[in-house]
Symmetry: C2
Subunit: 197 residues, 2 copies
């Protein structure tokens, strides 16, 4: 029998490179030639690992989200000297926002394609994202002080907060310190239902 295929492993090796290219350049400007160059392989090797460019993009979305979620889970698991988990998440994101490139992939997927497969991938990603945030908010909340806004709505709003933060960062609309304050104060308001002290 012939050689066994190491395609899965190869995909795992190259996906981070592919994803970061898409996040940096968007969908259209990320040419398959550029991808090949960054991966240090020939184009048609990429085409042996994924059916087409679209499939590379979809895989990138899934990869980047999985990576982010994993990072957050680790952060939350490492035990937080008393601080509430959702607040730690927000603080972490206010310092590392944009690093994963997730938002840039979303913008690219929304504006550069009308592809149903890509939209499906984004939808699935957002649903997972929303559920994850919702779980953190629920875990964080203190039942003793209602009224608090609906968890589902809060979770969407927190995601929107992240999206806007990423735009604000991209366009240099707020300095780093202001951005952190924005994230912390509005985040608190959305989660707790009242302004921070």
């Amino acid at each position: 029998m012939p050689r066994p295929s190491h395609a899965d492993e190869r995909r795992r090796q190259l996906l981070p490179i592919v994803a970061s290219a898409f996040a940096e350049l968007g969908y259209r400007r990320t040419t398959t030639a550029e991808l090949a160059k960054r991966c240090k392989v020939r184009e048609n090797i990429l085409y042996r690992l994924w059916r087409d460019k679209k499939a590379m993009f979809v895989a990138s979305i899934e990869f980047v989200y999985a990576l982010s979620a994993e990072t957050w889970r680790r952060l939350l698991a490492e035990g937080g000297d008393g601080k509430p988990p959702a607040e730690r998440l927000l603080q972490y994101e206010s310092e590392h926002h944009g690093e994963s490139g997730l938002q840039r992939l979303v913008f690219a997927g929304l504006s550069e394609t009308n592809d149903p497969a890509i939209h499906r991938a984004l939808r699935t990603m957002y649903r997972r994202f929303h559920r994850f945030i919702g779980e953190q908010i629920t875990a964080y909340r203190d039942d003793r002080r209602p009224p608090q806004p609906d968890v589902g709505l809060s979770a969407w709003a927190v995601i929107g907060l992240g999206t806007l933060t990423s735009i604000v960062q991209e366009l240099n609309l707020l300095k780093s310190g202001e951005r952190k304050r924005f994230m912390a104060e509005v985040g608190h308001l959305l989660i707790e239902g009242r302004p921070a002290a």
Copy 2:
């Protein structure tokens, strides 16, 4: 003397068509050929009105924002049977969100280009947007009930709310009714600093 130039008027005629094409297709997929077709002119006529494709895009951003702001101003001016202005704005947007295509232009500008002129145009647009929303929130607030969150932060958060709503709509993540409720409840929380009754 020769014929006078009607270029300004021509630009005003064509800009709505150009802008809606960019909003619908993004930057890259909006080819100059497609623009010409929709405008029912030859390509090089567009190139006589704007230096290049980038200039057409920048003009579109300015046009669409000006149009939105004008719509909101008219809405607020027409006197609102007792309702507070910011709430009417939010309600209006929850019903008409996405119609202007402003958010799609932002996504396109952010993901499909790295052009400084385009980023400058987006930055200016956001600053105006932020100031406008801030003014509405200030006008709306009731001084008798502190504590309320910082107006500047609230205004950014409201913009973020709009952005997320547009993504949610694009991806069909919430039904229309849920989207409206989201906009109303979170908007209230952001502006007033406490959940709606």
